[in-house]
Symmetry: none
Subunit: 206 residues, 4 copies
């Protein structure tokens, strides 16, 4: 009887709206399959089947498995790399380094990131995704900004971030064993010294 406003949705577009159920199913499938089978064994076909979703639905919203993986893991990656503020500058560096090392070595989002960096070496489109995300600089920046006031000559943030995080990423990508805590502390010390730190809250400093 009601005049029946047939306008159930705030979405102005006609037709059936995108199914959020399908979107989440795909993202979860990708997350799971990466851990269970690895990146190489993941296929668009497999993802669609695992998600219980039509193949075309996947292709409609994403071009490659890398793109899906990016969307599935980027938020996690950023939040997991948010290094909490520390009591002193030396700790800022070393606790960030440990966070990063563990993220790359064991976190699902870290595994995803390594896979994406790998794929970026073969596929220019993935390369752009990785460059845009720039996870290293992005995650190191807050730490460096907190440490900067205590140093006399830290270089530009981009270089400093590479100096800080680059060795850890390289290690994760090319060697079997990640750095120990001691190694990371030594690395932090080297950089702190190199940046002419006066980390003056510590009386003996320099």
């Amino acid at each position: 009887m009601s005049p029946a406003a047939p306008e159930p949705a705030p979405s102005a577009k006609p037709g059936r709206p995108r199914s959020d159920r399908a979107r989440r199913a795909v993202l979860h499938a990708v997350d799971d399959m990466l851990i269970e089978d690895g990146y190489a064994a993941m296929t668009m076909k497999g993802i669609a089947e695992r998600a219980g979703v039509g193949r075309q639905t996947v292709y409609r919203w994403w071009s490659t498995k890398a793109e899906i993986l990016m969307e599935a893991s980027e938020a996690d990656a950023r939040s997991e790399l948010r290094s909490p503020e520390q009591s002193d500058p030396a700790r800022e560096l070393s606790s960030y380094l440990m966070l990063l090392r563990t993220f790359l070595a064991t976190s699902p989002a870290g595994v995803a990131y390594r896979a994406l960096v790998g794929e970026a070496q073969h596929d220019p489109a993935v390369r752009q995704l990785i460059e845009r995300a720039d996870l290293l600089t992005t995650s190191a920046r807050p730490v460096l900004l907190r440490v900067q006031p205590f140093t006399k000559a830290m270089p530009a943030i981009e270089l400093a971030a590479a100096q800080l995080a680059g060795p850890v990423l390289s290690q994760a990508l090319t060697t079997p064993e990640p750095f120990t805590d001691d190694a990371l502390r030594a690395h932090a010390d080297t950089l702190a010294s190199g940046w002419h730190a006066r980390f003056g809250s510590h009386p003996e400093a320099m």
Copy 2:
């Protein structure tokens, strides 16, 4: 009586010996195709056809295209990363860094190395090849050994190599632009200072 040990054959195996012509054709094909088409577009089928070689012949001697690429580029990579001795320690570090940066950015062997590091993230077998080669430590070691006498506290070679080369490799793998010469010099300075170097203040120290 018999004056000679009856050691007649250096080739003990029966059957037709391996064709060196085929081996070289495959390695050259891989080298060329990587530059022309990129790693992803390279296929075992394509390599065999390009080399004018049977498919089975490729599979007989190599398991994956990564393995071929490794054999094709490893020697080049090692020789291209042999950093010539410099007049002073500061130059040792920075000229190695520039060599490494340019190798990764433009050398065919460097492109191959990046592709292999990429593939190592997807394939454990390639991962082992990369770990065994350990190009960073191997190439940085001679430089570090020459610099070490001038520092008071350089850490273990493995860590020092990662500190030195890691940022350059990470940059090459994840960002669009390689480091400038200035940035590399700044990085060298940072490490030298961090390692408590007494560079040059004692020029006679050499």
Copy 3:
């Protein structure tokens, strides 16, 4: 209101339906290739390419080239072996024999049948196809049923069919020259006599 038999769809299955265009292209390709190149030179790969069809599409609907060939030629074979009714029993036998001889020697469907009998000796699956089709008995039966009333002791249809058609098939499979018309008439006479026929000399005998 209407009871409305809710039988809207003959195709209950979801998904894209089978392409009849692809099916016919494959069957035609097989027909042509058998004549042009022979059975041994036909390959699943070649059939797919000749038909302009994906390889998987062929394998999806047929297991072997023999299966395709069977489907492509069975209908033709049956219709070509339908021997028209004759004015007298002696003619029934001899005209069927000539039909069969010429079918096996020159008809494309006859060539296909010979190839399939050949393959049946190597592949049990093809063997079953051939056994199920039982072309000899099937094609001879109508002839024998028309002749039977004029004989006193024709054996069971299966044996009679083998007696009638077996020599012609054997000849086609193992010797260079097919039987002449005279030979076939002599064969028909032998069987007619052997079956104690009182053919036509006594038309009222019916």
Copy 4:
């Protein structure tokens, strides 16, 4: 002077003579493999390995597996199809038919013959081998010659052989079950009657 040229051998050729050991090993291998794995699964490679013989050695003496199989089985086939003389003409025909049926159904040489007839439909070279051997006429001829005096109108030997043996071969090649003894006796009777036999030396005849 020369006390008899030392020419002990009909083999005038220089060089190492053909190894009879290798020849027999190949023939045995083919015999065994046909029974164990079937014709289709036999390969030149497999035969060589099974015989413990080089691949080239096989190709040196035979072109195809069919040729080897022919050499391996022809002698057996001929001797197994030598039908012993019987006490009366009716028995001549029926005991030959039973011999032939059992040969085709169960004898290794019979299996080989069926495989060769099969291959002959695909390969003209094998076709010629089969035509030259003409096993049916060859084996039926002695029987027919012994029976002929007792018939008034047996056709030419080739046709008579096809009439006699053709149904049995066709049955063996295209149907699952071979003929029973009764069926073969009925077939013999039909032909005998058809050939106007007077088999009359036997009072009860006909």
